[in-house]
Amino acid sequence: MDSKLEEWMEKAFELASKELELGEVPVGCVFVYDNKITAEGRNSVNETRNPTRHAEINCIDQVMEWCRETKRDWRSVFSKTRVYVTVEPCVMCAAALHNLKIEQIVYGCHNDRFGGCGTVMDVASLYENPVPTISGVQEKRAMKLLQQFYDGINPNAPQPKVKKRKRKEQETE
C-alpha cells in the first residue's frame, strides 16, 4: 500500500476544487514519479474546445514535455509513474494510461457517463498486463464536487432537448 496515497489524493482534490471555481469540470489529477509530482492536471475542454483535454491527457502532455526538457525516456518514466485522480478515468483516458503501462491508477468516485475502469466499459480487459487500479478513495467527496458542478450549467454544452421543453413550459406558465 502506498503510504503517501492520501497525501497525493489530497493534492488532486485541491486541484478539483479550484476547477469548480473556474467553471471547468471539477476533476483533479496528479502524476507522481520518484516521489515527486511531475504533472498536475486539470480539465481544459471548454478552454481548448477539444473534448479530449481531460486532466489525465493534459498531465500526459506535461510529462512528455518534462521528459523532453530533462532528456529522459518517456517510456521508462511512465512505467514508474503513479496516477491519482478524483474521478474514474473515462474510457479514452483509461486506454491512454494502459497504453503507457503506468505503474498504478488511484481514483475517487465512479464516472457513470464514461467510466473506463468498469463502469461503462472495462478497458483493462483489453490488455494483457493491465495497470493495477485502486478505486473508491474519498468517493463521497469526489462525487459531491461533481454534483456541485452539474447543478450549475456548462454554457458551451449543447442544450438537451428535454430542458428546452421544460423551459418553454416555464415560459408559458
Binding site: 477539444n50 479530449t52 483535454r53 491527457i57 518517456w74 511512465f78 473515462c90 449543447p158
Partner: protein, 368 residues
C-alpha cells in the same frame, strides 16, 4: 469479431463495399431459456397473481418479459435446470436489462399489453380458451408429475390458475431489433425499446450513398495519399468538404494517434486546439479564418470521420466525446480496434451518452 450487416448497394460503381457495423447480438436469432408457465383461467385473479409472483419469485433475468401473456399464460419461474435459475446467471443479466426494461410490475400498471400485441403473428389474442393452440407453437411440454409440486412457489394462492404448470421456451434476453422483437413476441409477450440508430442501420438500403459516399471515399483517398502509418479526416456533412486531416504521430508522442490529432485540429478550426499541426496535415482555411462564424456548433458534432484504420479504445472514445456523427474506417484492427473487432463493440455499450454510427468500407478484392 463483430458481425456486419450488409445492405450494400451493388449499383454503386466505385467498387467499395460499405457496411454498417453492429454487434453480432443484433443479427442473432432470439435465444431462449426454459421457464415454468401456467394459465390464468379466471382473469379476476390476474392482478393479484402478478403481484404475488413478483414478490414470491421475481425473475431478474427476465425483466424484459411481461409476467402475463394476453392469452392468459403466466410466467411462474425459470425451469429448475435452466441456466440462471436461482440467481446464478441472473445477477449478471439483470444489471444489463434492468436499465432499459421496466419490471413486470410496472408493465402491469401501465396496462401496456395492447401495444405489444399488435403484430399479426403474435398469436391468438383473447381468452384462455385459445391458448391451447399456442402451446404447440411454443413447444411447451408438460412437466413431470413429481416436479409439478415444485413448479408453483410455496405460499402462492393458486386460485384463478389452471394449476397444471408447463415448461415453455421464452426469450432469454431483451430483443434489440424489430426483427428479434417480432420473433420474441411469438414466444412470449415482451417489452421492446427500439433504437432509432439501430433501426436506421438495419433498414433496407441503409448505408452511404450518393454525394456523401463520394465525399467520404474522396476523404479516405486523401488519407491514404499522406502515406502515413494511419490517418483520419473530418468531413463536413453539408458540402462534403474536408474540415481537417490528421496523421498518426504516436512514435513521437504516445497520445497522438490520428483520431486524437484530428479532434485537436478540428478544435483549432474553432480557435482552440493544443498540438501544432504537422506538415502533412490539413485544416480547412475558410473555417480557420472565419473562426467560429461558420464553424459547427460544438466540437465535432455532426461531422463524419473517415479513418484508414479501425480506432482503438482511446480514439473511439475521443470521437464519442467529440460527438462525431459517424466513423467510417477501411482497415480493421484485430489487435486493439473496438468498433468492429471487439465484441460487443464500443458503440453498442449501454450508458454512453453518444452513439457513433460505424461503417466499414473495403474493396472486395483487397485492391486500393
Amino acid at each position: 469479431m463483430s458481425d456486419t450487416t450488409s445492405y450494400d448497394a451493388a449499383n454503386e460503381s466505385d467498387g467499395w463495399h460499405i457496411e454498417a457495423v453492429l454487434g453480432p447480438e443484433y443479427s442473432e436469432p432470439v435465444r431462449t431459456v426454459d421457464a415454468v408457465v401456467d394459465v390464468v383461467v379466471d382473469r379476476r385473479h390476474t392482478s393479484r397473481l402478478v403481484q404475488d409472483l413478483q414478490r414470491l419469485c421475481p425473475i431478474p433475468s427476465l425483466r424484459h418479459l411481461k409476467r402475463v401473456c394476453p392469452d392468459g399464460r403466466i410466467l411462474i419461474q425459470l425451469a429448475t435446470d435452466s441456466p440462471g435459475h436461482e440467481g446464478s446467471d441472473s445477477e449478471k443479466n439483470s444489471s444489463r436489462t434492468s436499465k432499459c426494461s421496466p419490471s413486470p410490475q410496472e408493465c402491469k400498471n401501465k396496462r401496456s399489453f395492447s401495444e405489444t400485441v399488435t403484430d399479426s403473428d403474435s398469436g391468438p389474442q383473447d381468452g384462455p380458451t385459445s391458448s391451447e393452440q399456442l402451446y404447440s407453437t411454443s413447444k411447451s411440454v408438460l412437466l413431470d408429475e413429481q416436479k409439478n409440486e415444485r413448479a408453483l412457489p410455496r405460499g402462492l394462492d393458486a386460485s384463478g390458475l389452471r394449476g397444471r404448470p408447463e415448461r415453455c421456451a421464452v426469450p432469454a434476453s431483451p430483443p434489440l431489433t424489430r426483427a428479434q422483437f417480432t420473433h420474441a413476441q411469438r414466444l412470449w409477450s415482451c417489452n421492446f425499446h427500439p433504437s432509432r440508430a439501430v433501426e436506421a442501420a438495419l433498414a433496407p438500403g441503409a448505408g452511404v450513398h450518393g454525394a456523401r459516399r463520394a465525399a467520404l471515399l474522396a476523404a479516405l483517398r486523401a488519407c491514404y495519399r499522406t502515406s502515413a502509418k494511419s490517418a483520419a479526416a473530418a468531413v463536413h456533412p453539408h458540402d462534403g468538404s474536408l474540415v481537417a486531416l490528421a496523421v498518426d504521430a504516436r512514435d513521437e508522442h504516445p497520445l497522438q494517434h490520428a483520431a486524437m490529432r484530428l479532434v485537436d485540429l478540428v478544435a483549432r478550426t474553432q480557435c482552440g486546439g493544443v498540438w501544432t499541426p504537422l506538415p502533412k496535415e490539413e485544416i480547412k482555411e475558410s473555417v480557420s479564418n472565419a473562426c467560429g462564424k461558420d464553424s459547427l456548433p460544438y466540437l465535432c458534432t455532426g461531422l463524419d470521420v473517415v479513418m484508414t484504420h479501425e480506432p482503438c479504445a482511446m480514439c473511439a472514445m475521443a470521437l464519442t466525446h467529440a460527438r462525431a456523427r459517424c466513423v467510417f474506417f477501411s482497415e480493421d484492427n484485430s489487435n486493439c480496434g473496438v468498433l468492429y473487432s471487439l465484441s460487443p463493440p464500443l458503440q453498442t455499450l449501454p450508458g454512453l451518452n453518444h452513439r457513433l454510427q460505424v461503417f466499414h468500407a473495403y474493396l472486395p478484392e483487397g485492391k486500393r
